[in-house]
């Protein structure tokens, strides 16, 4: 906007005198222009992302190559890749790296399979469907820490109701009392199970949206052609759902890869680091242990995987946009 003595010139708009009413009219026009209002409205989101994602990420990049400690007065000194070589020498780190992949991949396979089954059920009409839908959504809307503390008691070593039920149903013998967090395999199964319980509603809702978007004619045509349930699932529904399954899977991978609440509350990485993952190890090292730089270096090992996932997601989003 160029300013001329006593007048305001707007490109493409005739100059008007600057009286009170004229100024108000000018401001009004400014707020009505998409080219002005668009960036202004998006600015808070951009600032939000920069402040809460960009700055911390930049800071963690710097911390990872510094010697910063939890109570350092400054940002520490530059030490190059020393923190990375140090963590790579740690067997605990290598175990956490392997555990992270196991935790993420197994939980995501389970989430997608179970979410597909649930979503398929929810497309059918049955009595009490709204209550079932509410119950399925509950784990997602409840605070994750509260839900996980609930599971901690459900799987408690002394008073586990899960064990009581299993015994009552004769699934396990009366003499048996599984220590869910005391055996490496059971502990990993427990944290994966709770994580699946937590993520299932999200994936179900996404897949349900995908299922409802499949045209009824396609299913009807396949039925006319004599396709059975499995044939229809594998040759029609799943191929059509592939983009949305990919999105659900990629979101799930990000949630699983970066989550530490479930593990921190249930096992604190035990037994003997059996469920330690990169995010929990970064927390123990950086926050509880005081080695901020070491913790930042550990957490940055998450970055390559997350970058790949982000790139794939953006490409899917772009393809959808083009379509």
């Amino acid at each position: 906007m160029g300013k001329v003595e006593g007048k305001t010139s707007v490109p493409g708009v005739a100059a008007v005198p600057l009286g009170g009413a004229a100024a108000r009219a000018s401001r009004r026009r400014l707020l009505d222009r998409e080219s002005f209002l668009g960036p202004v409205m998006i600015l808070p989101a951009v600032l939000y992302v920069l402040a809460l994602v960009g700055v911390p990420f930049g800071l963690s990049l710097y911390l990872a190559v510094s010697d910063a400690k939890i109570a350092s007065t400054g940002l520490g000194h530059f030490v190059g890749l020393a923190n990375f070589t140090s963590v790579l020498r740690s067997p605990t780190f290598l175990r956490a790296l392997a555990n992270t992949f196991v935790f993420t991949l197994v939980s995501q396979v389970l989430v997608l399979v179970l979410a597909k089954i649930l979503a398929t059920c929810l497309t059918k009409r049955f009595y009490g469907k709204s209550i079932v839908r509410f119950l399925i959504l509950l784990p997602w809307v409840a605070p994750i820490s509260l839900g996980t503390i609930g599971w901690k008691w459900m799987l408690d070593s002394l008073y586990s109701p899960v064990n009581w039920v299993l015994q009552a149903l004769h699934i396990i013998p009366a003499s048996s009392w599984p220590m869910w967090f005391g055996v490496r395999e059971l502990a990993m199964a427990s944290v994966i199970g709770v994580h699946v319980w937590r993520l299932l509603p999200f994936a179900t809702v996404i897949i349900l949206a995908g299922l409802t978007s499949i045209p009824k004619e396609v299913e009807e045509a396949s039925a006319v052609d004599g396709a059975g349930f499995w044939s229809r699932e594998f040759h029609i529904v799943l191929p059509l759902l592939r983009p949305i399954l990919t999105v659900a899977g990629l979101f799930g991978i990000i949630f699983a890869f970066t989550d530490m609440t479930v593990i921190y509350v249930l096992t604190r990485g035990g037994p003997a680091d059996g469920t330690q993952v990169l995010s929990s190890l970064a927390f123990f090292t950086g926050i509880l242990g005081g080695d901020l730089a070491g913790g930042a270096a550990i957490s940055l090992f998450l970055f390559p995987m997350l970058l790949i996932v982000a790139v794939v997601m953006l490409r899917i989003a772009r393809r959808a946009e083009v379509a």
């Binding site: 009004r28 707020l31 009505d32 209002l37 010697d67 400690k69 939890i70 109570a71 350092s72 007065t73 140090s86 020498r89 740690s90 067997p91 605990t92 070593s157 002394l158 220590m179 869910w180 967090f181 005391g182 055996v183 490496r184 096992t267 604190r268 990485g269 035990g270 037994p271 003997a272 680091d273 927390f283 123990f284 090292t285 926050i287 509880l288 242990g289 005081g290 080695d291 070491g294």
Partner: protein, 438 residues
């Protein structure tokens, strides 16, 4: 088009008004709060609730009235203390007094020196006990980075009836192994020494190591000494106790795990602060009568246990009322006769002369004087993380990343030999020591 223009403007104006209205109360509250001084304290939620009652409702109230200060106390669960401290340091804002449950040398750069407080208290009550001095003093900077008002002994809790039945007293670690095995075989009750990634395990296993003449570091606090014959022998003994008389439960515990195990009436022996037996006295007095306390079991070299907790206050450099905070600590230490009784003997005084006739008070316990009397000598058999050196920032990281519990757990789980596990712990500790320098 006209209506859309109007709604946009209305929305923007409305948003502005809403933001102003929302900000209003905040501004008002801040202004009203600024009128009087408030001392803000953060500390753990005590395992003996009666202590928090005394501290929150009596001591801080009376102290606040006497000094014209409003005192607020935020209780934080034991597992969240460190994360909260890190958040306060990160934000450079928080409480005036922050109570840790183990010495926090890693925070030395962010806390005020307590040398003046210690020297004032020494004039009144004499020196603090040795373990407190070694754990909260940095000889390199000649600085008390924290002020400990109390520490907590870590005796054995055992079932007098069952141990009597098998005719063994848990006096040495060999006795513990023998008695625990016999009780498991004869009565079916397991022993409960935690091998988990948590505070109590960290403490108990250090005591076991010292009993075998093994240490994390040397006296100068610069050399890692964990890979020793003593360590290997200690690991082998704990593995044997696990295999003969414990269950996988010991890998699952958090700091309250062994308490619940023992108070449930299931366990034959644990090593813990007296909160376990105190809980039983309240919840199941008949069971409590069958419980006894004993000093930590002796190893082949010595009888030693770790302090269970070492409560120490720091005053952040960014605290708003540092002088008030220091005065509060001095007055708290001066009131330790009351604090000791309010904690039901859980909090032992860091300045021993701040409690008069401690032995007499223990002997006068209304529930089980004989049991508690053994605590009178607790200082003699108690040490601290980093013993025989000082508690340094490197030891702090070793402690909080559970290097020692995992060293024992790998062998008990059959994943490694005792020798290999000690070697791995040594490498891990050397890596940590290298990061923190000397």
């Amino acid at each position: 088009m006209g209506s859309s223009q109007l709604s946009r403007r209305t929305f923007l104006k409305g948003a502005g008004v809403a933001a102003t209205v929302a900000a209003g109360p905040t501004v008002f509250v801040r202004a009203s709060r600024a009128q009087g001084k408030t001392l803000k304290i953060a500390q753990w939620t005590h395992f003996v609730p009666a202590f928090d009652d005394w501290f929150d409702k009596k001591f801080t109230k009376e102290w606040g009235e006497k000094n014209g200060v409003h005192v607020t106390v935020d209780h934080i669960s034991v597992n969240d203390l460190r994360a909260r401290a890190a958040a306060e340091v990160g934000a450079r804002k928080g409480h005036d007094l922050f109570g840790f449950l183990d010495p926090p040398p890693a925070y030395e750069d962010q806390v005020l020196s307590m040398n003046d407080v210690v020297s004032e208290l020494e004039k009144k009550f004499g020196k603090p006990i040795n373990l407190v001095q070694r754990a909260t003093y940095n000889p390199r900077t000649k600085n008390y980075f924290a002020l400990s008002d109390n520490w907590v002994p870590d005796p054995l809790h055992y079932r007098i009836d069952w141990w009597g039945e098998v005719g063994v007293k848990p006096d040495t670690w060999d006795h513990v192994r023998e008695g625990a095995r016999k009780i498991k075989e004869k009565l079916g009750h397991p022993a409960g020494f935690g091998i988990s990634q948590e505070l109590d395990t960290n403490m108990m296993l250090r005591g076991l190591l010292w009993g075998f003449g093994a240490h994390e570091q040397d006296e100068s606090s610069t050399k890692v000494t964990i890979n020793s014959k003593g360590t290997v022998d200690a690991i082998k003994l704990m593995t044997a106790i696990y295999k003969e008389s414990m269950t996988n439960e010991v890998f699952t515990w958090d700091p309250s795990g062994n308490n619940r195990f023992f108070v449930s009436g299931k366990g034959s022996i644990i090593q813990n602060a007296i909160s376990a037996i105190r809980t039983a006295e309240k919840q199941n007095p008949e069971l409590a009568k069958k419980m006894g306390l004993a000093p930590p079991a002796a190893g082949p070299k010595t009888r030693m246990g770790s302090e269970h907790l070492l409560h120490c206050y720091v005053v952040w450099k960014f605290a708003e009322n540092p002088d008030l905070a220091k005065k509060f600590i001095m007055d708290l230490v001066a009131s330790y006769n009351d604090a000791f009784l309010a904690s039901e003997f859980y909090n032992f005084p860091s300045f021993p002369k701040s409690v008069t006739d401690l032995r007499g008070k223990l002997a006068a316990d209304k529930f089980n004087p004989q049991a508690y009397l053994i605590l009178a000598d607790a200082e003699k058999w108690s040490a601290y993380p980093g013993y025989p050196g000082h508690t340094t920032a490197a030891i702090d990281e070793v402690f909080n990343t559970f290097v020692i519990p995992n060293m024992f757990a790998r062998v008990a789980k059959g994943e490694q030999s005792a020798e290999d596990s000690a070697k791995q712990a040594e490498a891990e500790m050397q890596r940590i020591f290298a990061k923190w320098g000397k």
